[in-house]
């Protein structure tokens, strides 16, 4: 009997240590994040100052909408490589439509300065149209999104190169933006005191990003469209025989993603301030990286808005942190690549069935 109880105790113990190990692994990303913060803080005590935190927050807010859009494509077991160029195009268009009337080489002098809501609408509509194009090819011709968006990305780049040469611009960087535009995006309604009588403003686009994340959370979790999207990503055939309109849902997911890129473009127009055909280059890779770090799985049908936010935040934190810790710029990509591999290997563990 004592033997038996010993055995039981040993079993319970091994079970506990296994559980603790699992808990550790499942939260490894957060632990890594905290560890990184501590190390960077030791190297550079300015890291955790409000001004630097707000910097990280703003950067997160700038990249978040795009990641939220791409995540939907990944949930459908796809991807979207056209996101970055779509941001570039909508950024240039937004900026060109909102140049101040006083700007000497204003791209479209004859239109004055358009109202901001109109430009937002134009940017998001262009993005959505690109999305519809992508989604249609994916759903109708059964092409892999990787191929479709690879093609779209190139097409968009040509559009972008042609666009910046139009009007009076002649391929120059688009700058000299209207004050209303700058204020709308970079202006601030709340400033955080940062000591010594100074204060750091929280730019408006942070609030917009929070709003968009909330809206996306709602769409993903509370609407028919959201549930159909997850079901489709999880098992397309099941969705089809259950009466889900596969074509429509796919097109909508890509269109919604496109609208998100349009918004990102609108923000980048003002945030960057001087836009060229290179604006938005490789944004999609950061977006995809953030999604996979945040647990949006390429297996399909899995992902949470919370994870995406954390993914974007972690990437920005590491970026800003490494800069502040004066780490050699060349090494930053190494760290980023390492994190992607590490995070995905961890994530995959959850779906592995041990045999």
């Amino acid at each position: 009997m004592s033997n038996e109880s010993k055995e039981l105790a040993a079993k319970a113990k091994s079970f506990d240590s296994k559980k603790a190990f699992d808990l550790l692994l499942n939260n490894a990303l957060y632990i890594l994040m905290i560890f990184a913060v501590i190390v960077i803080q030791i190297i550079n005590p300015n890291f955790l100052r409000p001004s630097s935190l707000i910097n990280i927050l703003s950067q997160t807010a700038a990249y978040l909408p795009l990641a939220l859009g791409i995540a939907g494509c990944i949930v459908l077991t796809g991807t979207d490589l056209s996101a970055g160029r779509c941001v570039g195009l909508t950024a240039c268009i937004s900026a060109s439509l909102l140049q101040a009337v006083t700007t000497s080489n204003k791209m479209w002098p004859e239109i004055g300065t358009l109202p901001i809501p109109v430009v937002i609408l134009i940017a998001m509509a262009i993005g959505a149209a690109v999305g519809v194009f992508n989604g249609f090819f994916v759903a109708k011709f059964k092409l892999h999104p990787f191929i479709v968006t690879l093609g779209t990305q190139l097409i968009l780049y040509s559009c972008l190169l042609l666009y910046v040469k139009m009007g009076n611009n002649g391929g120059m960087a688009i700058s000299g933006l209207d004050k209303s535009y700058n204020d709308f995006i970079k202006g601030s309604i709340i400033s955080v005191p940062t000591g010594n009588g100074t204060s750091t403003p929280i730019p408006n686009y942070v609030w917009f990003a929070i709003l968009l994340a909330t809206v996306m959370w709602f769409i993903w979790n509370k609407t028919t469209f959201g549930k159909n999207m997850f079901a489709l990503g999880s098992n397309e055939e099941a969705a089809r025989v259950s009466g889900v309109n596969v074509l429509m849902t796919t097109v909508l997911v890509f269109a919604l993603a496109g609208a998100m890129y349009g918004w990102t473009g609108f923000v980048e127009g003002a945030r960057v301030g001087s836009n060229t055909a290179n604006t938005g280059l490789n944004y999609e890779l950061d977006g995809i990286a953030a999604c996979v770090i945040g647990g949006v799985s390429f297996v399909g049908g899995i992902g949470k808005i919370r994870g995406i936010v954390i993914g974007v935040l972690l990437l920005r934190l590491i970026f800003v942190g490494l800069n502040m810790a004066s780490v050699n710029q060349d090494l930053i990509y190494l760290v980023k690549g390492g994190i992607i591999l590490f995070a995905c290997a961890l994530d995959m563990r959850k779906y592995l069935v041990k045999k």
Binding site: F230, A231, S234, N235, V241, S242, G243, V244, K355
Partner: protein
């Protein structure tokens, strides 16, 4: 009782490039009855149902439901008009919850676009209560065992409140208790006046629950008769178009000395707790047990496809490890896996590649270049020896029938010159006629002096082909019986020993 005609399919034809899948097929289903649709694989049963359900567009023929002519263009339209279907392959969104799956395509809405979780939960409970299904509606699908997922699929089809419900092989992954449960649900649907179309290969099930039976062969309608007037033999005769006098070939193999001794093997992560048995040269050893009893795990464990914990394996008096499939193949083992389509065939590759894939190193010239000539010869040998019916070696394996696919895989393993063949459900999803050929192959292999271990969920098959049968229960060996002097009852009793 009066049973008016509910569904009438007349002169249905459907052609795929090069194949006439359906040729002038008729089917009449009466309200409040179960109509069994029978036929070998490839007879066109599923195609016919897909034409009804709007997945395929029929080329000719009319379908009348409740007196109205219908022509569904999508599954959605079929579901909305009172035709629901339990599909043969489990089509489920595995990463989503049970209730998300149940209401997929028709989520209860709130304010136009929002999904009302509250109503969804309420309706799920109602359905599960009526059907006495005990599954947690909030559980993620992938965490459930296959049998429970199947019950969810059945509940889903019933929940559409349809007039016609099609069950396409619903019991292939259910345990005996769950099959009884399903039959109670079907009875309930009959009382409600639904018309049930039931597709299954299991004769005893068909004879038990059907009112009418329609038999199809090669895409054509063969006969429709009341179930009472038919016997199992007659159905088989109608299905294969000739008389099958014996379901099993004569047992000519003679077991010799013990070649394999397995002592107390157990799985590290799986439910296999303890298995001990021996295998003789030239013997066919059966492994019986209920679903989840660990019978498949015995084979996969032995083959190194699962992590083993403890136990010893001795082959010809020499202890071996079999840590990985690669090592096991080297030691003379071969495993025919349970799910042919998922883990057996390389569907889009041709017969030749599927045949030679496990013995590639035999065809190396100078250590790097594979000899096409040799591979062709070996494949030709397999096609002849296994009686594989295929137009050419370059045919995609997925275009063959299940039985021929299985023969290709057996051929593949024989090319590795195994001593111990592990066969997991060797005749699953195979036509009645082709089953006989597989049985003959198994007995021939034993005659050649190979040891065969065969797992099957069909007890008559084990009794007809094996010499000895070990019965698994709750991950352990519950007993061993002599196939000649045992009965299904004895095996079932043993199978329930540790449940």
């Amino acid at each position: 009782m009066d049973h008016p005609v509910l569904l009438e399919m007349k002169g249905i034809s459907k052609e795929f490039p090069g194949v006439k899948a359906l040729d002038n097929v008729n089917l009449t289903v009466r309200a409040g009855t179960v109509h069994a649709l029978m036929g070998e694989n490839g007879a066109g049963k599923s195609t016919l149902m897909k034409c009804l359900f709007g997945i395929y567009n029929r080329d000719a023929g009319t379908i009348t439901l409740d007196g109205k002519e219908i022509h569904f263009k999508s599954s959605k339209e079929a579901l909305e008009n009172g035709v629901a279907m339990v599909h043969q392959e489990l089509n489920q969104a595995l990463t989503r919850t049970v209730q998300d799956n149940l209401w997929l395509g028709r989520y209860p809405k709130m304010g136009g676009i929002m999904v009302s979780e509250r109503i969804m939960a309420k309706r799920t409970h109602e359905i599960f209560d009526t059907l006495e299904v005990s599954v947690n509606p909030k559980a993620v699908m992938s965490t459930l065992p296959v049998s429970q997922r199947q019950m969810v699929e059945i509940a889903k089809a019933v929940s559409y409140d349809s007039k016609i419900i099609v069950f396409d092989e619903p019991t292939s992954s259910l345990t005996e208790t769950e099959v009884e449960h399903l039959f109670r649900i079907i009875d309930m649907l009959k009382q409600k006046g639904c018309g049930i179309i039931y597709i299954s290969h299991k004769m005893d099930e068909i004879l038990r629950i059907s009112d009418d039976i329609t038999v199809m062969r090669d895409g054509q309608w063969v006969a429709t008769r009341p179930a009472k007037e038919l016997t199992m033999e007659e159905i088989i005769k109608l299905m294969v178009g000739r008389e099958l006098t014996n379901r099993f070939p004569p047992k000519t193999n003679k077991p010799g000395d013990v070649i394999l001794d397995v002592q107390h093997i157990a799985g590290k992560y799986t439910r296999l707790k303890d298995a001990t048995f021996q295998l003789r040269k030239g013997e066919v050893l059966g492994i019986a047990g209920l679903d989840g009893s660990g019978r498949t795990e015995v084979l996969e464990n032995l083959f190194g496809a699962m992590t083993r914990e403890g136990g010893t394996i001795t082959l010809h008096g020499r202890e071996i490890q079999n840590r990985t499939p690669k090592e096991s193949i080297k030691n003379g083992f071969a495993l025919l896996t349970e799910e042919r389509r998922a883990t057996g065939i390389f569907g889009i590759r041709d017969i030749r590649e599927n045949t030679v894939i496990s013995s590639l190193k035999d065809y190396l010239m100078g250590g790097i270049c594979l000899s096409d000539k040799q591979m062709k010869e070996k494949t030709e040998w397999a096609i002849q020896a296994m009686h594989i019916k295929t137009p050419t070696q370059k045919t995609q394996i997925r275009s063959l029938s299940g039985g021929n696919q299985q023969k290709v895989i057996i051929g593949r393993w024989l090319l590795t010159k195994p001593e111990v063949l592990l066969l997991d459900e060797p005749t699953r999803g195979i036509d009645v006629g082709a089953k006989y050929e597989i049985y003959q192959l198994i007995i021939d292999l034993a005659n050649e002096g190979k040891g065969v271990i065969m797992v099957s969920s069909e007890m008559p098959e084990l009794l007809g082909v094996c010499d000895r049968i070990i019965v698994m229960s709750g991950g352990q060996v519950a007993g061993e019986v002599d196939a000649k002097n045992t009965s299904q009852e004895e095996i079932l009793t043993l199978a329930a020993k540790y449940v």
